[in-house]
């Protein structure tokens, strides 16, 4: 049994370990180690396509994580006031949203956006008051951020709701009892107490968006995020440069996940 478990972990982590290991190889072949070197990291970070993809990924991840944190928190607070069947229904819908396969979200978001754009573009053209062609809404950064925000909101709602549920109702009552207005109570009591949950939700959202390939593949339009760049360059063969990019993404994701976990573990301190 123990050997079996060990084997599972081995198969799970050896490929990842190999990628990380070979990213430090000095050779140009991705599958044979030829001396330690950081040269492929240098090459990756000097590749204008990589830098551009990285910038896109950061923009999308940061924007969608911020939007998701703000709107997800608002939704979680609103859901808190609900009771009975509606609450159960909304809870179920949110969990389902997280579990739906990425490919389904990707395709359905693509179809939804295309449909809406197909409907809006003639409208805009019709009311466009200036000379020259009216701008066309198209797939791009906006649609990618929107799609990621949608998914990330579900993440944030789940995390923040757990945080709110763990908060004693008497804190907000005590605040009201001590003359704080409803907004004062929100600003001074509720927000600080759920802030660790919001930050954790933000970091998880960022990680998800930064790593996501499937949804981005469908709705990114002409934009290339880092995962899309990696995917397209793999078709020309795996180079140590890809290994280096993979290792950097992995490291960043791990740091964010551990930090998020740290926020979630934090119980009493504010």
């Amino acid at each position: 049994m123990r050997i079996y478990a060990a084997a599972v972990y081995l198969f799970l982590y050896i490929p990842i370990g190999i990628i990380a290991l070979f990213s430090f190889s000095a050779g140009r072949n991705a599958s044979e180690f030829a001396g330690f070197s950081l040269k492929w990291y240098g090459i990756a970070l000097h590749n204008p396509f990589v830098v551009e993809a990285l910038r896109t990924s950061f923009t999308v991840a940061a924007s969608s994580a911020i939007l998701a944190a703000v709107f997800g928190t608002m939704a979680a607070l609103a859901l808190q006031g609900m009771t009975g069947r509606i609450k159960v229904l909304f809870d179920a819908l949110i969990y389902i949203a997280v579990m739906i396969p990425g490919i389904v979200i990707g395709i359905s978001t693509l179809i939804a956006i295309v449909t809406v754009f197909g409907w809006l573009n003639p409208l805009i053209a019709a009311v466009w008051p200036w000379d020259g062609p009216a701008p066309q809404l198209a797939m791009g950064l906006g649609s990618l951020i929107a799609a990621h925000t949608l998914f990330n909101m579900a993440l944030v709602i789940i995390i923040v709701r757990a945080r709110i549920a763990g908060m004693d109702r008497s804190f907000t009552e005590a605040s009201a009892d001590l003359y704080a207005t409803p907004f004062g109570t929100f600003r001074q009591i509720t927000l600080p107490l759920i802030l660790p949950g919001i930050l954790a939700g933000f970091l998880l959202s960022f990680t998800f968006s930064f790593d996501d390939f499937i949804i981005a593949f469908f709705v990114a339009g002409a934009n290339t995020t880092l995962p899309i760049y990696v995917f397209s360059s793999i078709r020309r063969g795996v180079t140590p440069e890809i290994n280096a990019i993979g290792t950097m993404v992995l490291t960043l994701s791990l740091i964010l996940l551990v930090t998020a976990q740290g926020f979630l573990q934090r119980k009493r301190k504010g």
């Binding site: 005590a174 605040s175 009201a176 009892d177």
Partner: protein, 371 residues
Amino acid sequence: MHSTAYPQAPASDQNPIAEFRAASKHYGEVVAADAISLSIMPGEFLSFLGPSGCGKTTALRMLAGFEAPTSGEMLLDGVRVNDLPPHKRPVNMVFQHYALFPHMNVADNISYGLRQQRPKPAAAFVAQKVAETLERVRLPGFDTRRIWEMSGGQQQRVALARALINQPKILLLDEPMAALDRKLRREMQIELQSLQRALGITFVLVTHDQEEALSMSDRICIMRAGRIVQIGAPRDLYDAPNSRYVADFVGKSNFFEGTLSSVSGLMGAVDLPTGPGRGRLGQDVAVGRKVSLSVRPEQIYLSPTGGAFAVQVRNRIFLGEHTEYLVNNPSLGDFLVLVSRQTEATLGAFDPGQDAFADWTPEAALILNND
């Protein structure tokens, strides 16, 4: 509007600081408060006493403004406040588990109420008030402590300080001592009482601990299933309970059941298995009804030589000042007798298994309905 008349606070020319006028609170089918009528006088120490689920917290929450009555009226200083939100009411509450804000230190917790005022009071003024209040609850120098770095008793004092610093018209306390151990609880009770005397603030306390209510309050409201069954000074409730429920809840009592056979003036006689037992009429009773003769354990004499009821001592519990005996009469069953140390010194102690005699005066017995 409401028919039940309760004895009110000692006559005074002051107006009530708060009033319940037939205030009811329904949660769906559950009636948590059932037409409560009560006037709270300025400066008094009032307690709500009753078993779990009888509606004590609900009554307090209606005063604080967390619950609006389903019907009836709530008044503060003669003004109807049914729909006034908690943050606009000049009352403060000490919560059962204190509800101290975990992300603030002691000083920030205590000054919270002051800091909500607009325009904001000066920082120096706030700091001075905090220091004064900490002094008052005997926690000087605790300003920068975190909440979780303090014991339960200290947290309780902070909760008290956080409410008192606002000089509320009424201080509401929901079982504030429930989480403290016995000795600390006693200390806090004495401290609360002297604070109340010194500040002259009206205190409303919720408790299910009768000793606590009896020792601290000017008046006690005994509650049962959402209703107030009796209001009075501790001594009056103890000496003149208006129902078997109150007699049972306030202090200990023995109940001997029988049929009321006759009434003359304020006295009556109950057909006990041992013969007629006389007692004072404690409430409206009708001849021929099943009633109880209620006798407090300390009102019963125990004697080795003579008395109306031959008993056998079953059990003896040493309580320090007193000794509590469980005795048995073949017709009356088991009942409790409390013998003081002094009496024991003259009559000697009784041993389990020993035969003795018990008796009481008719004035010590109270005739109450079996409800």
